[in-house]
């Protein structure tokens, strides 16, 4: 057993640079375990002789996604471990990243990454002393890896990540976020490797030491690499390296070693301090939730957006049962733009497979919005699905004082390191007094600790009852907030419940929010699109002296216009290619001014039949814009702005002709498999919708089967396929062929940068259109037939 966290442990140093030094730099490093076992063992031995406590197997690239050589994985894994064992020390298996980027940036899924690492764990668990997960730069892949190792092995897991000089990973995670995630997943030690030299790593090491109670591991490069005659060289001296490492050890680092460019001579210097007691650190723990790139500390008031919850929201209910995640995502984006700090996500509607929908919803939302999420469900398996696939450290909503509920939910919170929200109620309902609710809070906190969940990972909701029904109890909720704080946990409230059943609800909500914040509410759960409520939070920041210099407040209200004149000003956050007030509908659409569209359309509809509005006004305006764009006198944003305005107008017109005429027809759109570029397809979508077509957007990197399935199910007017490059035209061809084979009767349109009418013919498509407007024309003529 290694004296981890008590005495300094020394790992070995750079491996790739040692291979190069021995003239083995040209080979696939992992193959050398079989082909050059003696040389590999010699390197391990040199590190052991230099005094390393732990020898890392030569297995960095050994996973089924990264390794592209000719040997079976199992053979190489075994050889790598045996070579390392020959040095007679504790052996850790080196687990490097897959080298592939996870979706949506790349195409690798979380499950595929997980499976690759699980395979490694299955092959090695009974052969090694532990795992050193290293050089990761994507938080999501790191999560997949650590989960896979923990779920397939009981050996220790140490995990290190690379950061750039700005203190972020390649995908934008900070040391604090990495520490929160890894600590939450239950690794044994965490830290930083590679990236930079020790000097440049110093600030990152300090941040890690302040962000976790766990032992910290540091394995720097030998300084910053320099390019000499086209070759990478490292030239920091052993003395200089040792000087910095000594500093880290004194700061409280528990495990040291080296990365690129370090040699046994460097490790020998570190080994001089072996057995040294690791100094204790006093880490201040804070309640925080994180996405991959944002960490929200519940110190001052943070707003949790409540709108991703179908209760009482007809449109969201419909979207969820149709699994239309675009709507969910756009609600998430709206809340982010309105200033929410984190978002509640609840997908509970009757008759759906809640765990599956939760997983998909989490995946969809995090592709677009980087706010931390609160996974909200009464079904523990839905909670686990959400928490597992979440790229970060989420909040779980919720447990309550009921034993059975805590029993089901706390193990999930513990396993994934999530923060958990406890409601002060139990099987007997919500207690009437603040004291009784405080009693439940104490019970929740104590039970959480039994499950190994510390207080900074627990929040308490003292529950708001409506003033109309339970007027005397409103103050009990507020009083309970103050009591609960004495437990050292943070608090939350769903504030707008208070006004239910009374007139002028906003006034009550705002007043109650101010009262609660004054008594220590940390996280109001509210509708961030309600400007008054957000305003109250901002104002509280000024008055409670948490918004230093009233900076955020001034930023928000710099251009404040009193309500009487506000109507004339454009809505904040709305882009406008044209900002002047618009006149009639034609003008609105032509100039792309969305704000005035609804009123202008209503005026138009008062005089004309809906179809005439479409043909005489909307289509004409769009044609004029299209002509301008084709001539080069208008640019793309203007075309898009007009399309957006027209879409809004079509919606209004649609309300007036519900029964008489349906939409023009449905078009299924997809960017083909292998292609992740969807800007062109998205432009087509906006324009088609503006002309009144219904669009089913299958997204990008769309599997052939998915296109076929949608086409056969929907029987659309047309299927539109997009590909950016020659390389993906082939999968476009496959898609077309599959559609034909299944007897798809819809016309197939293709487009994209490299396509021509000729290629379209070759791959069997019906039409090639060069841009969105041509596609509209072609579809219109199709309809006319």
């Amino acid at each position: 057993m290694l004296p981890l966290g008590k005495q300094l442990i020394v790992f070995d140093g750079g491996f790739g640079s040692e291979l190069e030094r021995r003239g083995l730099g040209e080979y696939i490093p992992e193959d050398l375990n079989v082909t050059h076992a003696d040389e590999i063992r010699a390197i391990h031995r040199a590190y052991a002789e230099a005094g390393a406590d732990v020898i890392t197997a030569n297995s960095f690239g050994l996973n089924r996604i990264k390794y592209k050589g000719k040997y079976p994985l199992e053979t190489l894994v075994r050889a790598a471990v045996e070579n390392a064992r020959a040095a007679g020390k504790e052996v850790f298996f080196d687990v490097g990243p897959t080298g592939a980027l996870l979706a949506p940036v790349g195409t690798l899924t979380f499950d595929e990454a997980y499976e690759a690492f699980a395979e490694i764990a299955r092959l090695t668990s009974d052969m090694v002393g532990g795992y050193i997960v290293e050089t990761f730069s994507d938080l999501y892949e790191l999560k997949a890896c650590v989960l896979a190792l923990k779920e397939h092995s009981d050996k220790p897991v140490y995990a290190t990540v690379t950061f750039d000089a700005g203190g972020r990973t390649l995908t934008g995670s900070t040391p604090e976020i990495v520490a929160d995630l890894l600590e939450g997943l239950g690794v044994d030690a965490l830290g930083v490797n590679c990236s930079l030299g020790p000097e440049e790593l110093a600030p990152i090491v300090e941040r890690l030491l302040n962000a976790t109670d766990l032992p910290v591991i540091v394995q720097p490069n030998r300084g910053l690499p320099k390019l000499e005659n086209g070759k990478t060289v490292y030239d920091l001296s052993e003395d200089e390296f040792a000087r910095w490492m000594r500093k880290f050890v004194e700061m409280g680092v528990s495990v040291v070693g080296g990365c690129c460019g370090t040699t046994p001579a460097f490790i020998r210097r570190l080994a001089e301090w072996k057995g040294r007691a690791v100094p204790a650190r006093n880490v201040v723990r804070r309640t925080a939730v994180c996405s991959a790139t944002q960490r929200v500390v519940l110190e001052i008031v943070k707003v949790c957006g409540e709108r991703l919850n179908p209760t009482g929201k007809k449109k969201l209910k419909e979207a969820l049962s149709a699994e239309d995640y675009d709507y969910l995502v756009s609600e998430a984006i709206r809340q982010q733009e309105a200033g929410a700090d984190l978002l509640d996500l609840n997908v509970g509607i009757p008759k759906i497979d809640e765990p599956t929908v939760m997983r998909r919803a989490v995946t969809a939302v995090q592709e677009y919005v980087d706010l931390p999420l609160q996974i909200d469900s009464s079904d523990p398996s839905a909670i686990e699905a959400g928490v597992r696939y979440y790229n970060g450290v989420p909040l779980i909503n919720s447990v309550n004082g009921e034993e059975a509920v805590m029993e089901r939910v706390f193990p999930i919170a513990k396993k994934y390191g999530a923060v958990v929200l406890g409601l002060t109620m139990d099987q007997n309902g919500v207690p009437r007094t603040a004291q009784a609710r405080f009693g439940i809070a104490k019970r929740i906190v104590a039970r959480a600790e039994k499950y190994g969940i510390p207080r900074h990972k627990v929040m308490i909701d003292t529950l708001v009852l409506t003033a109309s029904a339970e007027q005397p109890l409103v103050m009990e909720t507020v009083k309970a907030l103050s009591l609960v704080q004495s437990l050292g946990v943070k608090t939350a409230l769903g504030v707008s419940n208070v006004s239910f059943g009374l007139p002028n609800r906003p006034l009550l909500n705002k007043t109650f929010l101010a009262m609660a914040m004054t008594c220590g509410l940390n996280m109001p759960i509210l509708n961030p699109l309600d400007g008054e409520m957000m305003g109250a939070v901002r104002a509280f920041g000024v008055l409670a002296n948490t918004d230093a210099g009233a900076e955020k407040y001034i930023e928000a209200y710099r251009d404040f216009v009193p309500a009487q004149t506000a109507a004339a000003a454009p809505a904040a956050g709305q882009s406008a290619v044209q900002t002047e007030g618009a006149g009639d509908l034609f003008d609105c659409v032509k100039r792309g001014v969305k704000q005035g569209v609804r009123a202008a359309a209503e005026r138009e509809l008062a005089q004309k039949a809906p179809l005439d509005v479409v043909n005489d006004v909307l289509i004409k305006a769009l044609e004029e814009v299209g002509a301008g764009y084709e001539k080069g006198t208008l640019f793309l944003p203007q075309l898009i702005a007009s399309a957006e305005a027209a879409k809004e107008a079509f919606a209004v017109v649609g309300e007036h002709m519900e029964k008489t005429a349906a939409k023009k027809g449905t078009v299924v759109l997809a960017t083909v498999r292998g292609d992740v570029h969807d800007i062109g397809k998205n432009i087509v979508k906006v324009v088609l919708e503006s002309y009144g077509f219904e669009v089913v957007d299958l997204g990008k990197d769309t599997p052939v089967e998915r296109v076929v399935e949608a086409a056969m199910r929907i029987q659309p007017l047309a299927v539109g396929l997009s590909a950016l490059m020659t390389t993906t035209v082939r999968s476009m061809e496959e898609t077309v062929r599959a559609l034909r084979e299944k007897g798809c009767k819809s016309k197939i349109f293709v487009g994209g940068a490299v396509l021509t009418a000729e290629i379209a013919r070759e791959i069997g498509a019906d039409y090639y259109t060069a841009n969105a407007l041509e596609l509209v024309k072609a579809l219109e003529s199709l309809l006319a037939k």
């Binding site: 080298g99 592939a100 980027l101 949506p104 940036v105 790349g106 195409t107 730069s137 994507d138 750039d164 700005g166 972020r168 390649l170 995908t171 934008g172 390019l227 086209g230 790139t293 675009d326 995502v329 756009s330 984006i333 982010q336 733009e337 592709e367 677009y368 919005v369 980087d370 709305q574 882009s575 290619v577 044209q578 900002t579 792309g592 764009y629 080069g632 006198t633 208008l634 640019f635 793309l636 944003p637 898009i640 702005a641 399309a643 957006e644 498999r673 292998g674 292609d675 992740v676 570029h677 800007i679 998205n682 432009i683 906006v686 950016l724 490059m725 020659t726 390389t727 993906t728 999968s731």
Partner: protein, 204 residues
């Protein structure tokens, strides 16, 4: 590239080559500001003197003729700007297309500035796919540079991820500006037909 050139480049990606109005300028400038805030430019490069096999074929051979050496380069803006573009396409497509164009202009400009390390006498960056060359040659550049370490990946389809990424070749020892004269696509170029070009800057 100064900010007005950068803006001009972004406008050209948005299909506009004329003199932009004040409103367009405001829109593109705010897009550029957002692109800069979200972009994390990272690049790798390696100088070679002997040509790798794939560079012996056309059009690379002609492109590198007269150069003393050359560098392979790969660069990216990272994935954060990509997520923002994706989100804007749902919430505000106008800003979405603008941010997309700004990010494209930015990665080109950052790349040009970064390549100054290869000396004043150098060619512009020629990327596989330009001028009728085979876009699949990007895999040769990936094999030589391993830009995975800066967060780039060559997908099976031959596309690079993140999207705002480039991989190319810079000839050293000879100055060469972008021009239409030598381009294999000259005959059927849609830009030339419209009296414009596919590139914006006269510089490297």
């Amino acid at each position: 590239m100064n900010s007005s050139e950068l803006r001009k480049a972004a406008c050209s990606y948005l299909g506009f080559y004329g003199e932009p109005t004040e409103e367009m300028i405001a829109l593109v400038d705010s897009g550029m500001e957002e692109a800069r805030a979200l972009a994390h430019f990272r690049a790798v490069g390696k100088v070679f003197s002997a040509p790798l096999a794939f560079l012996e074929k056309e059009p690379y051979a002609s492109f590198l003729a007269g150069c003393s050496s050359y560098a392979l380069v790969a660069m990216t803006l990272g994935s954060e700007v990509e997520r923002r573009i994706r989100a804007l396409f749902l919430s505000d497509p106008v800003r979405g297309v603008v941010l997309d164009a700004c990010a494209s202009a930015l990665v080109e400009a950052e790349g040009d500035a970064w390549e100054a390390q290869f000396g004043a006498a150098r060619t512009y960056r020629f990327c596989p796919g330009y001028g009728g060359s085979d876009v699949r040659d990007v895999k040769e550049i990936f094999a030589a540079l391993r830009p995975e370490k800066i967060g780039m990946e060559l997908l099976e389809s031959g596309l690079m991820a993140p999207q705002k990424s480039m991989a190319g070749i810079v000839g050293i020892g000879k100055t060469k500006l972008r021009s239409c004269g030598a381009c294999m696509l000259r005959e059927k170029c849609i830009f030339l037909k419209e009296g414009t070009r596919c590139f914006r800057s006269e510089n490297n």
